[in-house]
């Protein structure tokens, strides 16, 4: 086995599963420890630095960190990382004194941002403190992009969104609201040093089944709409129901993603009696986050999986029902899904259908002869490291770059693009001259049995976030459903964190091979094994040879007897017992400190 390369941070970052899984590499254990110390402002600022919108993401993040959380592997459920982020946002004090100072003397470079969604706003946040003049163009009347138009207020209150957007706008961002860029060529003439395209994926996909052309031909027919369009109308109050203009009573939502969940819950709040979500996949395979499905179901919405829409039924020019066939999902050897009809059909009566089956980018405003190259799927060719397009001064990020993903990915893209644009504007190469972060490993030892962090680990169940009653919830459009953790629950939940960023660091030269660490490790992570040519044979010597292939091993250089130490990082509790038991200090618990986290986004 090859000795693990500990000269760079890659091995250590991978061990911090949550941080590694977060596209923006937010230092999760660090901020959870601060919450445990009730230092909410500090916890918020650590978040703000990495993910720019802690209050927003503490509510509506896709939470890639949680399935990655080590507690999910050693116990059952992961730490409620997302909701702890909200705790920091809810309990912080005024953070404005701690925000970066904006230089009065500008550096003379001008940046244009197209769109004011999470990606663009992140670029602005990163470049304004460096002295850039940043000009933002947004077709809507307010900033936020999909965070405002596609996420209903009962999940994300407007005040939270406004607060976090204003931190950036108040840094001196020049905002042009209601200004849609219709020609990139024209903007290129406008003397900007670099342009960032963060226009998202603003076009909802239609289902071209029989009846669609007739219904959708009238562009204002309120009986049919795409999910994201309709949510935007509700959000900007373009759509209002009253006694004269009655809300639809029976609504069918097509699709199984988070947009479908937002649509059905919004329709219910607008006054629909019967809301049905029909999706082609199985319930388990739906794209919506599990907790979104749970909340929708709790609000009395029926979700019918395995139904494929066949036809919109129209009578006298009005939509009256949607016809479905029942299907089965059949997976082939490589996991591709195909649908097999069972022969059964289902007619669902409705007076409105919302189509939430996907969304696309729109680039009809980018002229094809100005140097921005597109690939076969009509997406811009973008370098995945620098996010630079084939036109060197044009950068892409968020959904506009790689198709619909999520907010935290857009934020990560924003950081990446900001680094590239800064390098580009300083006449450096966004890839060649890109610097990586430096890092430190800092010992957390305070005494023989004392560490700077809570090292004792015990079983603790995940805390459930309190919410208002489901009956109340469906009555108003803007009342937030979740109440968030109170302090008691927050501190309990914070104490579930395993502090994976405090690493077990091994020093070969001081090890006397007494096996004390191997014996005391509660999770059988540490092995002292004879070196063999065949790695598989070596694994057979491990205390638990059944390895998790997604997790790494920490392999030492040969020790005095020729044996090597191999630590399986998979289920290490970071409890520090190895270091407490080591008579010579060959083990120590050291915290990983990355000096420039944004540079680690690759």
């Amino acid at each position: 086995m090859k000795k693990t390369d500990t000269s760079n941070y890659q091995h250590f970052l991978k061990v911090v599963d949550c941080q590694q899984a977060c596209p923006a590499h937010t230092p999760v254990p660090e901020y959870i420890r601060l919450i445990a110390e009730r230092r909410y402002t500090d916890a918020y600022l650590i978040n703000w630095e990495s993910n720019v919108f802690p209050g927003v993401l503490g509510r509506v993040c896709d939470r890639p960190c949680e399935p990655a959380c080590r507690r999910g592997r050693v116990e059952d459920t992961p730490v409620a990382i997302c909701r702890l982020k909200r705790v920091a946002a809810d309990n912080k004090e005024d953070i404005t004194p701690f925000l970066p100072k904006i230089p009065r003397k500008k550096n003379g470079k001008r940046i244009a941002l197209i769109g004011a969604g999470p990606a663009s706003m992140t670029v602005a946040r990163d470049l304004l403190p460096l002295g850039y003049d940043v000009v933002m163009f947004e077709r809507d009347a307010k900033a936020g992009g999909m965070m405002r138009s596609q996420i209903p207020a009962f999940r994300l209150p407007e005040t939270v969104l406004d607060e976090e957007l204003n931190y950036i706008i108040n840094m001196g961002l020049e905002c042009h609201f209601g200004e849609e860029i219709t020609s990139l060529d024209k903007l290129l003439q406008a003397n900007f040093d670099a342009i960032f395209v963060g226009t998202g994926a603003p076009s909802g996909r239609w289902l071209k089944i029989p009846g669609h052309d007739q219904l959708a031909s009238e562009s204002t027919n309120p009986q049919i709409d795409t999910g994201i369009n309709w949510l935007a109308k509700v959000s900007f109050e373009h759509l209002k129901y009253d006694d004269e203009n009655l809300a639809p009573k029976k609504v069918v939502v097509l699709g199984g993603g988070n947009t479908a969940m937002d649509c059905c819950r919004t329709a219910k709040r607008l006054g629909a009696d019967e809301v049905t979500v029909l999706v082609r996949s199985s319930f388990e395979a739906m794209k919506a986050s599990p907790w979104e499905k749970e909340d929708a179901t709790a609000e009395g919405i029926s979700i019918l999986p395995n139904y494929n829409p066949l036809e919109y039924k129209i009578e006298n020019g009005k939509l009256v029902a949607v016809l479905f066939e029942q299907v089965e999902s059949v997976y082939d050897k490589v996991g591709n899904r195909s649908l097999k009809t069972t022969g059964e059909t289902l007619l669902v009566e409705c007076d409105q259908v919302l189509v939430a089956v996907g969304q696309d980018t729109v680039f009809d405003w980018i002229e094809r002869d100005i140097g921005v190259k597109f690939n076969q799927w009509d997406s811009p060719k973008v370098n995945s490291k620098s996010l630079q397009s084939s036109l060197p001064n044009v950068f892409f990020g968020g959904d506009a770059a790689f198709g619909p993903k999520n907010i935290i990915t857009a934020v990560a893209n924003g950081h990446q693009a900001a680094i590239s644009m800064d390098l580009f504007c300083q006449n450096a190469d966004p890839i060649e001259d890109r610097s990586d972060t430096s890092f430190n490993l800092v010992s957390q030892k305070m005494g023989i049995h004392e560490w700077t962090y809570q090292s004792g680990i015990d079983h603790q169940e995940r805390n459930i976030v309190p919410h208002i009653s489901w009956d109340e919830a469906v009555k108003t459009l803007t009342t937030e459903v979740e109440l968030g953790f109170d302090e008691k629950l927050a501190l309990e939940e914070a104490s579930r964190c395993l502090n994976c960023d405090v690493h077990t660091i091994f020093t070969e030269s001081t090890c006397i091979e007494c096996s004390a660490c191997e014996d005391v490790c509660p999770m059988d992570c540490i092995n002292f094994v004879e070196e063999e040519n065949d790695d598989d044979q070596m694994v057979k010597q491990f205390r638990v040879p059944d390895l998790n292939s997604e997790q790494s091993l920490l392999v030492s250089a040969p020790l005095k007897t020729g044996h090597i130490m191999v630590k399986d990082e998979d289920v290490c509790l970071h409890c520090g017992l190895c270091a407490e038991r080591c008579p010579t200090g060959a083990w120590d618990m050291k915290k990983l400190m990355l000096n420039n986290i944004n540079a680690t986004i690759k």
Binding site: I457, D458, I512, C514, S515, A516, D519, G576, P583
Partner: protein, 350 residues
């Protein structure tokens, strides 16, 4: 602060025939010094009992006084136990064994407990052939009283304070061989690959099994110049044969290196498979074993491994022709037959 060991365990930990993982054989978290060899012995005992699927409640742990004698608290917390007076564990073990011969007796002692204050007790329990596993955690010093030289310290070595060992050392394995133990071995706490099969064989052996385990004292006897330090033992350890324990249920397959291999069938049907490394090695010859030990010592080497095994020896109960049913399973009428029987016995002496 963490004086507790987490109850979490590896989700893919193997279970034995009783459905238990090795964690079910643990005891309290050790309070011995970090890196103490005794903790490795504890871990080897836990592993052995788990792999042999021994019911923890069928074990009695016995010890005297000393760091070694604290160790039983750190394994098998569901077993019976008796922490006795200094050097008097063999008497307590004899009494317990007389009352209930069905338990597995695991005794843990140290060089002070067995080679100094309890030397006489040690000699007699060997002679008695009590069916038990007698382990000595041998570190050459009195760790609990700050590192004075023990009777097992090699002549001429210095302790941490600089005191010279003036007297000839006592080799407990040689003593056990001379006094007729039917299982004698020496091992090193830092070599579980050797120690675990020896422990498993000792637990399966019927009769007196003695294992002297060199167990470095990290605090008082791990310095340069010590002959019981981790480095010294790693460098000077040698073995006459590699012994592997084959449990009773395992199908016996012939090993590739024929001729060098000898199988010894233990009392319960399991097999001790011995692979010779030294030509003169012979596990059936006690006087040869003594000669081998002394010869290696003169060469500055520490001989380890299984020295002697007599699987068919009679144990204390057989020698004394005691009752087959343990005393604790006899009802009161049988145990205490009353005045009439007593009178009969007394009359027989008149």
């Amino acid at each position: 602060m963490s004086f507790i060991k987490s109850k979490f365990r590896h989700p893919r930990l193997p279970v034995n025939d009783l459905g238990l993982t090795y964690r079910d054989y643990e005891g309290a978290l050790s309070t011995l010094c970090a890196g103490c060899g005794h903790d490795s012995i504890t871990s080897a005992i836990v592993q052995s009992c788990h792999e042999l699927s021994i019911e923890p409640s069928n074990v009695a742990k016995l010890s005297g006084i000393g760091c070694s004698s604290k160790a039983p608290n750190y394994f098998l917390n569901k077993a019976h136990g008796f922490n006795s007076v200094h050097g008097r564990m063999p008497s307590v073990a004899t009494g317990a064994n007389l009352a209930n011969q069905e338990l597995l007796y695991l005794a843990m002692s140290g060089d002070g407990d067995s080679a100094s204050i309890g030397f006489g007790q040690f000699a007699h329990v060997v002679r008695r052939q009590l069916n038990m596993v007698y382990m000595v955690a041998n570190n050459g010093v009195y760790g609990l009283t700050k590192g004075q030289l023990a009777a097992t310290a090699d002549k001429g070595v210095k302790n941490k304070a600089g005191d010279l060992s003036l007297f000839t050392d006592i080799d407990l394995c040689v003593m056990a061989l001379q006094l007729g133990a039917s299982f004698v071995a020496r091992s090193f706490s830092g070599d579980k690959q050797q120690l675990v099969p020896l422990l498993k064989a000792a637990m399966s052996h019927k009769g007196f099994a003695f294992i002297d385990i060199i167990s470095p004292c990290v605090t008082f006897n791990n310095h340069a110049g010590s002959t019981r330090s981790y480095d010294y033992v790693h460098d000077h350890v040698t073995t006459g044969a590699v012994a592997d324990f084959v449990p009773i249920k395992t199908e016996i397959t012939s090993s590739g290196e024929s001729g060098e291999c000898g199988d010894v069938c233990l009392h319960d049907g399991s097999i001790m498979r011995i692979q010779k490394l030294m030509p003169e090695y012979d596990s059936t010859n006690a006087s040869q074993a003594i000669m081998d030990i002394e010869k290696n010592k003169q060469e500055g080497k520490i001989l380890t491994g299984l020295f002697y095994l007599e699987p068919t020896a009679n144990d204390f109960h057989e020698i004394n022709n005691t009752n087959d049913t343990p005393l604790n399973k006899l009802n009161q009428d049988t145990l205490c037959p009353g005045n009439r029987v007593l009178t009969g016995i007394n009359d027989s002496f008149r």
